[in-house]
Amino acid sequence: MSTLFTVLTLAAGTAAVLYVIGLALGRFSRRSADSEQALREDLLDQIEDCLPRTQCAQCGYPGCRPYAEALLENRIGIDQCPPGGQLTISRLAQLLGRQASASLATEPPRQVAVIDEANCIGCALCLPACPTDAIVGAHRFMHTVIAADCTGCELCLAPCPVDCIDLVALASSPERIGWSATS
C-alpha cells in the first residue's frame, strides 16, 4: 500500500512539475512569435542595406523591399539588381552565403533623368511614377527633375506621352576618382 502511495505521489509531483515547466515554455513561445517577426524585419533591413534603394523594379519586384523579401525566402538569385552592380552582389553573397549564378557584364553608369522642357506638355503623368518624388511640377506647369534626388530608376520614362525625358550619365566628380595619391 505504501509503495503504491509513494508511486502515486511521485507521479503526481512529476506531473505538476512538468505542467509548470510547460506553462513557462508556453509563455516563452508566445513572446518568441513577436520576436520572430522582429527578427524577420531585422534580417530584411540587413538585406535591404545591401541594395541601392533605387526602387526601379528592374529585378522584377515592385521595389527594393519586395526583392529583399524574395531573397530572404530564397525565391530569387542575388544577381538580379543592375543598379547595385558588383557591390550589391558581393554583399548579398557574404550576407546570405549564396553564390551569384551570373555576373554582370558591365556596371551601369550612374545616370539621372532630365526633362526636355521644350517638349514637356505639363501633363503631370510622370510625377506619381517617381519613387523618390524627385520631379517637381503640376498640371500645366513646367516639370523638372531634381538631379540630386534622382536615382536613375527610369520609371518616369514610360508614362511620358511625348517622350521628353532622357537619361544622362553623370560626369565623374573628383571625389569618385579614387587613389588620393598621397594616401
Binding site: 541594395l51 557591390l87 519613387p131 523618390t132 534626388d149 571625389e175 579614387g178 598621397t182
Partner: protein, 484 residues
C-alpha cells in the same frame, strides 16, 4: 650613426638626393598658369573667381589656392591634372604677364604676427606632399602656451626628394625666421627640428642659423625611410621623451604636439613678413639634376624644358619620390604646392608576382605596425571587416613592404586599390541612404493622401486659351522625335 634614435620598422635605403651641388634655378614665370580646383584628399573645391575677373597676386582662387601672379581669369574648365588616373580636373586658368625674374610677388602687405585668418587668406597648405590646410590643422590647437611641442619635420626620408634639404642649404636663415614667427604665435614649451643625420651640409647650415637660439633644439635621426612620415616621427619623439606611444586613434594634436613640414614653416615666415606664397623649391632629376624655384601653376613640361631635363621619346616623368610617387600621363599638368619632385626615367620593367610564402618580412618593416600579409589576403577577397580589423586606413602607402617581399607582390598597389574601392562603396552607400529616405517620405505621403483627400486646386486660367491644334502640334512633335 646606429646609436641615433630611429623609427620602428622602415628600411635604410641608399641615399639618393640629386641636384644639391648646383645653385637653385629661379624659373621664369610663364604667361598661363593653371590651378586645379582639388583640395586635400581629392575633395573638389568651389572657385571663388569668375571668368574675366582680374586678380592681384596672392588673392584666393579657392580655399587653399592663391594666385601666384596678378592676372585675369581666362577660363574655369577641365584641364590636365597631375594624378595617377590621368583625369582632367576643373581648374582656374590665369593669364598674366610673363616675368623672367619671378622671384618675388609684385604685391606684398606689411608684416604682422601670425594668426589663423592670415594663414587662411594666404591659402597656406602643407608642402610635404599631402597638402592639408595649415590653418585647419592649427585651428584645432587649443590655445597659445598649451602646445607641448612644435616639431619641424625636416626628415625628408624618401629617395629622390631633396627640396627641404636644398631649402636649408640655401635659405636657412629664412627658415629659422619662419620657425620664430610660429613660436611667437603658438608659444610651445619646446621646439625641435627633426632631421636625418646624413644631411651633413644642411645640418651645418642649421647649426649656424640657430647658433644663439637655445630654444630650438636639433634632433638627429637615423636615416630610415619613412622617418619623415608624420605619425612614425611623432611616435618616435614621444618615445624619446618617455611618453606613451601615439595610439592609432590619436593625432599629434591630441598629445598637444604640432608637426609641420620644414617648407611649410618657411612659407609661414614669408606670410608673416607680408609676402604671398607663390613659389616652391622642386627637386628635378633628369639630364641636369637641380633644384628649381617654380611658380605654382607652371606646366610640368615647361619646368623640365627650362631646366634642360625634357624627356625623350619613351621616357616617363614621375611626380614625387621613388616610392610614393607616380608616373604622369600628361606632362602639361601644372605644378601645385604639393609637387615636391620631378624625375625623368625610362619605363621600368614589371616583374610578375609570385604567391605569398608567408615569410613575414613585410610585417617586420611596416612602420605603422600593420600586417601587410593579412591585409593583402583581405584586399584580394574584398573582405571589408577583415580590412578594418587589420587597420587598412592606417596604411601610409610607404612601399616598404613591396621592397622586402621575396615574391615581388604589389602589396601597396593592392592596398591603394582596396581603399579606392571602399571609398567608392561608401559613396554608393551614401546615395542609397538618400534614396531610402526619399522613398520613405514618398510612401508616407501616399499613406497621408489615402486618409486625407488632396485639396482641390483652383483651375488655372491660361493667358491664352489652349487651342486643340496646339495639343495636336505637341503630339506631332513627339511622334517626329520618336521616329528620329
Amino acid at each position: 650613426m646606429n646609436t641615433l634614435p630611429r623609427i620602428q620598422g622602415g628600411l635604410a635605403l641608399k641615399r639618393h638626393k640629386p641636384g644639391l651641388n648646383t645653385p637653385v634655378v629661379n624659373l621664369s614665370r610663364p604667361r598661363t598658369l593653371v590651378f586645379p580646383l582639388i583640395g586635400y584628399g581629392g575633395t573638389a573645391l568651389q572657385p571663388r573667381v569668375r571668368v574675366g575677373q582680374t586678380l592681384n597676386c596672392g588673392e584666393l582662387l579657392a580655399d587653399g589656392i592663391a594666385a601666384s601672379a596678378s592676372g585675369r581669369v581666362s577660363a574655369v574648365e577641365a584641364r590636365p591634372y597631375a594624378h595617377p588616373s590621368g583625369t582632367w580636373m576643373p581648374s582656374v586658368v590665369l593669364e598674366c604677364q610673363p616675368c623672367v625674374t619671378a622671384n618675388t610677388c609684385e604685391s606684398s602687405s606689411k608684416p604682422s604676427a601670425l594668426n589663423l585668418d592670415l594663414l587662411r587668406d594666404a591659402g597656406l597648405t602643407g608642402h610635404g606632399g599631402a597638402g592639408f590646410s595649415t590653418a585647419a590643422k592649427l585651428a584645432r590647437h587649443a590655445a597659445p602656451s598649451q602646445c607641448q611641442g612644435l616639431i619641424i619635420n625636416a626628415a625628408e626620408c624618401e629617395p629622390g626628394i631633396a627640396c627641404d634639404e636644398a631649402l636649408l642649404m640655401h635659405f636657412a636663415d629664412e627658415v629659422i625666421a619662419g620657425i620664430d614667427a610660429l613660436i611667437d604665435w603658438l608659444q610651445p614649451q619646446q621646439t625641435l627640428i627633426a632631421i636625418e643625420a646624413d644631411k651633413h651640409e644642411a645640418i651645418k647650415c642649421l647649426h649656424d642659423a640657430i647658433a644663439n637660439k637655445q630654444y630650438i633644439r636639433l634632433q638627429r635621426l637615423q636615416p630610415i625611410y619613412p622617418s619623415g612620415a608624420e605619425r612614425p616621427l611623432v611616435d618616435l619623439l614621444l618615445r624619446l621623451e618617455g611618453q606613451p606611444r601615439l595610439r592609432r586613434d590619436e593625432t599629434p594634436l591630441d598629445r598637444n604636439r604640432i608637426c609641420l613640414n620644414l617648407a611649410t614653416a618657411h612659407a609661414a615666415g614669408r606670410i608673416a613678413r607680408g609676402h604671398a606664397i607663390t613659389h616652391r623649391l622642386i627637386t628635378i632629376y633628369g639630364d641636369r639634376p637641380c633644384h628649381a624655384r617654380v611658380a605654382f601653376g607652371t606646366a610640368i613640361e615647361t619646368v623640365l624644358a627650362d631646366t634642360g631635363n625634357s624627356p625623350r621619346a619613351g621616357d616617363r616623368v614621375r611626380v614625387g619620390g621613388a616610392l610614393s610617387g607616380y608616373d604622369l600621363a600628361d606632362i602639361s599638368a601644372p605644378v601645385t604646392a604639393q609637387t615636391n619632385a620631378l624625375s625623368v626615367h625610362t619605363a621600368p620593367s614589371v616583374q610578375p608576382s609570385r604567391p605569398c610564402i608567408r615569410c613575414g618580412d613585410c610585417i617586420s618593416v611596416c612602420p605603422v605596425g600593420l600586417q601587410p600579409q593579412q591585409l593583402y589576403a583581405y584586399a584580394r577577397s574584398a573582405d571589408d571587416k577583415g580590412l578594418d580589423r587589420q587597420g587598412l586606413d592606417h596604411c601610409l602607402a610607404c612601399g616598404c613592404c613591396d621592397i622586402v617581399c621575396p615574391s615581388e607582390i604589389a602589396l601597396t598597389a593592392s592596398f591603394r586599390h582596396a581603399r579606392s574601392r571602399r571609398h567608392a562603396d561608401r559613396l554608393s552607400d551614401r546615395d542609397a541612404q538618400l534614396a531610402n529616405t526619399l522613398h520613405d517620405r514618398h510612401q508616407a505621403r501616399l499613406e497621408r493622401e489615402q486618409t486625407r483627400p488632396t485639396r482641390q486646386t483652383r483651375p488655372t486660367t491660361p493667358s491664352e486659351p489652349i487651342a486643340a491644334d496646339g495639343i495636336a502640334a505637341a503630339l506631332e512633335r513627339a511622334r517626329a522625335r520618336r521616329k528620329s
